[in-house]
Symmetry: C2
Subunit: 659 residues, 2 copies
């Protein structure tokens, strides 16, 4: 995953044992041997096989890069940087003679190595790779993830392991949302008061930024920095109140929403500062694109500031939109002066915006189509907002080329560069970021890489399950943090009952949580909702069990046994959770939802008895149970009972059994 | 854990929230503020709470180091190194005013910080630390772990996370077994052929060695390097056959056992080489102790070498023991010349051995007592061999001061410095090292730190369960690797049934595995036995469930429900494992043991029915079931069915129910 453009499987498999080695010495792109070494290490860990670090005379996998000169724009002494639209194609052949990976570019070879790694599975004689012929290339050149590190601070190690995961599913743009009201996360040496006053001490040093950029580049990922302006700027003006449109002092914002502090578009000092600051930042970030945000400007300060209003009327700027357009134009000139292309959210699209600007659309395909018709390139983020914690299938179904984008002519359609998953971090901490991004981002990665014809949801979930586990070996903590978080809730004790409950629920996203209680950045994210998954795999498995009761008679008794075990553990959950809840607020909030789960378990067991006895229940009984379950629809403790789904299916199945 | 020398708990608790901070600025030992930062980060992750990185005006925990000058032997410009016998005591007070940690030395402060971290638990209003007064200091000054990195290579990251775990349980010596027949794991710049020919490319560079030494020192851990000689030397002579007692060529040893390649004790060239090599290594490792191994010398080469035999008779060395004693004496002079103290295994104890030599005893307390009476200091490793995978209780019961060591006078008793857990890595890979070392090493840590009166096994297991989870937050992978390994066996798929089986078994150690099949260092360690735990916590929990059936009538129905769920999942395991085993050798070897587990589940369910009905089974039935279970005693696929224990208890309980 993502599924390749073309794959032919053949009978037979190549053994992966302690003699496994990769030869990539012929590639001029030094990223390739380094990636080969990482992949070999990953395969060694996954297969539990000690492999020599030295090159072998007979490499199992030979990587060949056709490219014999360094890519354009890369000087000899620089590290090789991935670039927008570069050739990422590769061919992979595995047969009895070994494995052979061919790519035009180093980046293509990186993509092919990840494919090879995913192919390693256990077989009849140990781990192996099936014989295949793969020809692969991406559908879209822009496949990104935006991570907000302002609302919750994300340490370098967290960013890096997510870059590894992005590389594993062939994503190629890391959009780093570095500033917002809640924190200014990058070191400026010219204006150190920005991070010193605006970050609680949680910011990336310039050395760390360079480290992350190099780490990403080594994995074929571009780093796109975003400095959101003129709104979402509270953290800027904590240290530099003179930039704001109203007198300070300001404090770092601890709550969520849209806030008033806004850069002053009417003073030349603002642009002198931005020139110096953007000059510093464009030198720090090598990518040719530079994101200036531009979303959600609250114009209260502008309206209340006499000087700004006078400036607006002098310059014929008839409203705040025009004022923002003016600001953008000035900033655009500065960014262009440093040789960079401006990128901004939908709101920056205004008459007079330079044609090379790239629009990131949270508004949707229609907005993107409109921009494309006007000549602007665009990236879709609408439908890829991961902070809503919607199912992978929802994002998977969202295609950049649908609605009005589908009606575009070829030239305009080519301006739709791809998409970007967005992770806003109001309700995400370093411990939960991985499980909020993954595995769902892999479904988005497939949407953006694979041919549009690859769209079966069942197949996607099937492969998502496998890639979800592959990401463990890549180094993510999306799954390994689950049990420790549940056990922390249980006071550092075995948490079997908490796990039963957590497996039966799904976390709610920003829509529910923003109204659930008074959240601030100081509120711990350590509750069941934070540990719980976005989609419960165990529940999905039980739904399949119920389906199989009818569809697969041979497995009927095994499925009934599985359902019986799960339903019994649900029924008894309330009794098991009880003792944990004493003097423990994290556990005591589980009681009401555990109560509901116990009820569900009892209903499910009763339905299962009807099914086993092939004796349908009365309509009244069914209706009564359904009413009970409907009442569970409302989230409790900010989680939803996913367990209702298989139980409703059981009720349905029980009503249909033949007498 | 380890339990402090003195602890008084008081009513009340200190809240741990986003305002939590530690002040350690007053300590001259710069390791303390760095450790405080790590502990704050760990608490932040464990509690899911974002905490400012900046010092607060009102720190929650104030750390005070009494020591106002740098420890003796540490020059101003050097990093501070822990030393044998240094003061590690500390006092910790937590009350309504905050927490206060006082220590004489920086090392004592490090120990106290770890105690504080373990005290953080959830309470009625979120995470908290109970009010306590703790006065603590270690019983023994030498509390170590030896890790063999020769038989299986252990990357730096693996070593470092285990150093973090050692620090978490206050262990203070990392004994690094760097060379053996299967690999020469350290870079020599004077003799690069050693690592180039003797390591398959898996060795630590000198820079990495310095990094690990600094990493350990920052955590109050000494690094004791071991270069095993004159035996266990195959990997030395691959690159330098001229050092051996028989002509080469030699190859890196891939199998396990005691091998013939042995350094030549009769040639002056050997000692010239050793002088240069030991000179290089003593400069690399700052600790005053230097381990020369000296164990298990196979004297075949010596006996077959005419020159060596002539040398022996010329020097009046009547046998191979005398020859090894001569060799040791020569090496001892070289080590002493570089200002270091020699350490060696039991075998080095010979008349004429310098008094300052430290003996590491795998033979036991009596051997240690004999050495102590002769004036040698000693460290106990007998009873702490972790590669046998014996239960924590076994190691916990093994005290350095028992048998003949208990009869020593005070002066001689003081020569018993402590103990060292030993991990020989024939059957241990980077993925499994953590789970083989932990949590059992924590029980050994407590034996060596806590007063001898702390010895309740039940209390130990209770606390071990909690510390086992704390080690997740410390960064170990002993638990997080479990499910990925099981899922790799299942082909990257959900592995609920494999987990049920794995939870019901316990891995066997070197005693069983060395005879189970033809193992070499090239055989993957990726099977159920490698993933399975040494002691099954879920089985232990079920044993407690059975005990509670009688002892706690109020919980009877809840315990019956729990047993019912577990036993049902056991009974159905064979059916669930079946489909995974197709064309998968890792899964198909599970079938016989899964068959046995299913049988056990069925027997247990039947016994439970007798118990629920308060109707004892017939003696014949009981005897028949016991015979079936006895037959399961033999390991299958190198694992033992731990599940037999609670089922045997159930049979016993069923036989005793009142009619």
């Amino acid at each position: 995953m993502p599924w390749p453009a073309s794959l032919v499987e053949r009978p037979g498999a190549l053994a992966i044992d302690s003699h496994f080695s990769i030869s990539a010495g012929g590639c001029i792109d030094t990223r390739v041997p380094a990636a080969a070494e990482r992949i070999r290490d990953r395969i060694s860990r996954k297969t539990g096989t000690q492999m020599a670090a030295l090159a072998s005379g007979h490499p199992t996998l030979v990587v060949e890069c056709v490219q014999r000169t360094r890519p354009t724009g890369n000087r000899q002494q620089d590290p090789i940087l991935p670039s927008l639209g570069e050739d990422e194609s590769y061919m992979l052949d595995v047969d009895a003679g070994g494995a052979h990976l061919r790519a035009s570019t180093g980046t293509g070879a990186l993509r092919g190595l990840e494919t090879f790694s995913q192919l390693v599975v256990p077989g009849a004689h140990g781990f192996q790779v099936p014989f295949v012929h793969i020809e692969d290339k991406p559908r879209f050149p822009w496949r990104g993830i935006m991570i907000d590190v302002s609302r919750h601070w994300m340490p370098v190690a967290v960013v890096e392991r997510n870059l590894d995961a992005m590389a594993a599913v062939k994503m190629n743009v890391f959009h780093w949302h570095l500033t917002d009201d809640q924190g200014f996360r990058v070191e400026s040496r010219k204006f150190p008061q920005l991070q010193e006053q605006g970050s609680d001490g949680h910011f990336y040093t310039q050395q760390q930024i360079r480290q992350v950029v190099a780490y990403a580049a080594a994995r074929g990922i571009r780093v796109l920095p975003e400095f959101d302006m003129p709104g979402h700027a509270t953290s800027w003006v904590v240290g530099m109140p003179e930039l704001a449109s109203a007198p300070g002092p300001y404090r770092i914002e601890r709550t969520w929403g849209i806030f008033q502090p806004t850069l002053d578009p009417a003073r030349e000092e603002t642009y002198r500062f931005l020139d110096a600051f953007i000059g510093e930042m464009t030198a720090l970030f090598p990518d040719p694109c530079f994101h200036i945000g531009g979303d959600e400007v609250d114009d209260t300060q502008w309206k209340q500031n006499v000087a700004i209003q006078r400036f607006a009327s002098e310059h014929n700027l008839k409203d705040s939109h025009a004022l923002q357009a003016y600001f953008n134009e000035r900033v655009g000139v500065i960014v262009a002066k440093y040789g960079k292309t401006v990128m901004g959210w939908d709101e920056v699209l205004n008459p007079g915006l330079p044609r090379e600007t790239i629009i990131q659309s949270w508004r949707g395909q229609d907005s993107l189509a409109e921009a494309a018709r006007k000549g602007y390139r665009g990236v879709l983020s609408y439908g890829y907002y991961l902070d809503y914690l919607k199912p992978a299938s929802y994002h998977y179904a969202n295609d950049p080329m649908e609605g009005k984008t589908r009606e575009l002519d070829d030239a305009a359609a080519a301006r739709i560069l791809g998409g970007e998953a967005c992770m806003w971090d109001e309700y995400v901490s370093p411990e939960t970021l991985d499980s909020r991004l993954w595995p769902r981002s892999a479904a988005i990665a497939e949407r953006l890489w694979s041919p549009s014809s690859v769209k079966s949801t069942d197949s996607m979930y099937d492969r998502l399950e496998a890639v979800n586990r592959e990401l463990d070996w890549v180094g993510l903590k999306h799954r390994s943090n689950y049990e420790p978080m549940l056990e922390a809730i249980a006071g550092g004790r075995p948490a079997a009952a908490v796990r039963v409950l957590a497996d039966a629920v799904e976390a709610t996203g920003i829509e529910i949580r923003r109204d659930a209680r008074k959240y601030t950045s100081l509120v711990p994210l350590n509750r069941l909702v934070d540990a719980a998954r976005v989609e419960s795999e165990p529940v999905r498995h039980l739904e399949n069990c119920v389906s199989e009761l009818e569809s697969n008679p041979g497995a009927r008794s095994a499925r009934i046994a599985e359902l019986n075990i799960a339903l019994t553990s649900w029924r008894d959950n309330r009794a098991a959770i009880g003792p944990l809840a004493n003097q423990n607020s994290l556990a005591s909030e589980l009681l009401p939802i555990s109560e509901e789960l116990s009820t569900l378990g009892a209903i499910g067991l009763q339905a299962l008895k009807y099914i086993e006895a092939r004796n349908p229940p009365s309509r009244d009984w069914l209706a009564a149970q359904r009413r009970v379950i409907e009442a569970m629809d409302k989230p409790t403790a900010e989680v939803r009972l996913a367990a209702t789904r298989p139980v409703l299916m059981l009720l349905q199945a029980s009503s249909q059994v033949a007498n």
